[in-house]
């Protein structure tokens, strides 16, 4: 089904601090903008896929959203895969469309941890809290240490990931953090959980984003202005808690990427621009390895010398990613991947015809991959 489904529209709210905005309101705004962008009416929507909000635990949330949007979808629901959810949901929407279960799907996410609760990111890990084992950053720090010890990955290489994202975000008027990062400033940035510094950790943001998915044929019939074909997708689940993971530095992102590349009939060398989930800098280095952009252990050297910056071999996170544009869990990477194919990014890669998205959730527990391109 390579290229049979398209992303027909994208919508994104402002990102940052938005006191008083509920996730429901942010989702509705993102959906309204995505429908406007596609140039279609909400009455055409018969599929609704919603991410479970990290910052606001509630059941039957897809029904809350359908009510707020004033629609009665045939198919859809809530996905609880953290930051892997956006690309996963787009995959499920494309498969549902292919099988005739719906024709036009809205896929939407919103979170408000900045003005709501950050508790999900800071809580103690069960009985292990007695040892001081708290919070999401520490899980990634545990993986980062192992990678640094095992493969000689350096602090400056983690810093190179942060600097690339911050450079790109500085050029994006919609980014939450637009201050570029120098190597000196990175080195001077304080440790949160050693080996991770403040600048290795993503932003915490309120915000939402949504896309409209439909078949390429339907997009043609409706006269959609700038449909972007979905060439491939895949998912993979590592599932082990960090402490139990037999190999801390390998993830099922490899499975997710392999599935997506096979469907698209492409290889890493064919990718012009990539949006790689950067909740923490180490995540990008592991993803580059697991996706096959470089060999296992070589992610550190790979990110040096501007290779992942605009003008380099593989520009990543061209709207700033989670480190600079918004800490929102993943849909901003999809909307930017769409802009790259449309040629409308503020850091446009000239002539980009293939655009890859890596989404992942938990502490690298869940993974999903999306490959877009001008078919």
């Amino acid at each position: 089904m390579r290229g049979t489904a398209v992303i027909a529209g994208i919508g994104q709210t402002a990102q940052g601090k938005m006191p008083g905005r509920t996730t429901t309101s942010l989702n509705v705004e993102a959906c309204r903008k995505a429908l406007d962008d596609a140039g279609i009416e909400k009455s055409m929507v018969d599929g609704l896929f919603v991410k479970y909000p990290t910052s606001e635990h509630r059941s039957m949330y897809a029904q809350t959203m359908a009510e707020a949007l004033g629609i009665q979808p045939r198919i859809g629901g809530v996905w609880d895969q953290g930051g892997a959810a956006p690309s996963s949901m787009i995959s499920f929407a494309a498969m549902a469309i292919e099988q005739g279960q719906c024709e036009v799907a809205l896929v939407t996410i919103a979170d408000n941890p900045r003005t709501g609760t950050r508790q999900a990111y800071e809580r103690g890990w069960g009985d292990d809290a007695v040892f001081g084992w708290f919070g999401t950053p520490a899980g990634y720090a545990m993986v980062a240490r192992r990678h640094m010890e095992q493969y000689g990955t350096k602090h400056e290489q983690l810093g190179a990931v942060a600097r690339a994202c911050r450079r790109h975000g500085a050029n994006n008027p919609d980014a939450q953090l637009r201050r570029p990062l120098t190597a000196e400033a990175y080195e001077a940035s304080s440790f949160v959980v050693d080996p991770l510094r403040r600048d290795d950790c993503c932003l915490i943001s309120d915000g939402g984003a949504a896309v409209v998915v439909m078949s390429a044929e339907r997009a043609r019939q409706l006269g959609v202005g700038a449909p972007v074909p979905i060439l491939g997708f895949g998912q993979g689940q590592t599932s082990w808690e960090v402490a139990q993971r037999p190999d801390l530095t390998s993830t099922a992102a490899a499975v997710s990427a392999r599935t997506a590349f096979a469907m698209a009939g492409l290889a890493p060398k064919d990718i012009d621009v990539a949006q790689l989930y950067d909740c923490f800098t180490i995540t990008v280095i592991l993803t580059l390895e697991d996706y096959g952009f470089c060999a296992k252990g070589q992610g550190g050297p790979f990110v040096e010398d501007g290779r992942i910056e605009i003008g380099g071999d593989l520009p990543i996170n061209t709207s700033g990613g989670l480190l600079s544009e918004s800490g929102m869990p993943g849909m901003q990477l999809v909307t930017e991947a769409v802009r790259q194919i449309r040629g409308t990014s503020t850091n446009q890669v000239a002539g980009a015809t293939t655009s890859l998205v890596s989404n992942q959730g938990g502490i690298m527990h869940t993974h999903s991959t999306l490959i877009l391109g001008s078919s």
Binding site: F131, F134, M142, R145, V193
Partner: protein, 131 residues
Amino acid sequence: MSELPLPVVTPLTEPYWKGLEEGELRHQKCRGCGHVWLPAREECPRCLTADITWEASSGRGRLISWVIYHHSSDPVFAERVPYNVAVVELDEGARLITNILAPSEDLAIELPVVVQIEQESGFSLPRFRLA
């Protein structure tokens, strides 16, 4: 006065904490397939049987990875920074979260470690020192 976030002892985990009180680090072992693990589970994750027993560990293992907290939102641990948290794999195969009783500059992956049970707030906690 802030309090340490203590483990919640349940019928499932009671043998583990009781063992530590008696000076013994224990892991679970499957009677069906011999698989060994921590923390406590109701079924063997390898063969799915519930026929499980507790067994004494040698208390010896190796350091898989560690982190050093420089910041904590928990009031007790905010006073302890900087402190380390580590993953240790016991020689029998079980993994656990713990603290290493050594300066951070002495730590390296794969270093051999040995359990040292310490008393805190009425609990016997399995920490590790370099072997």
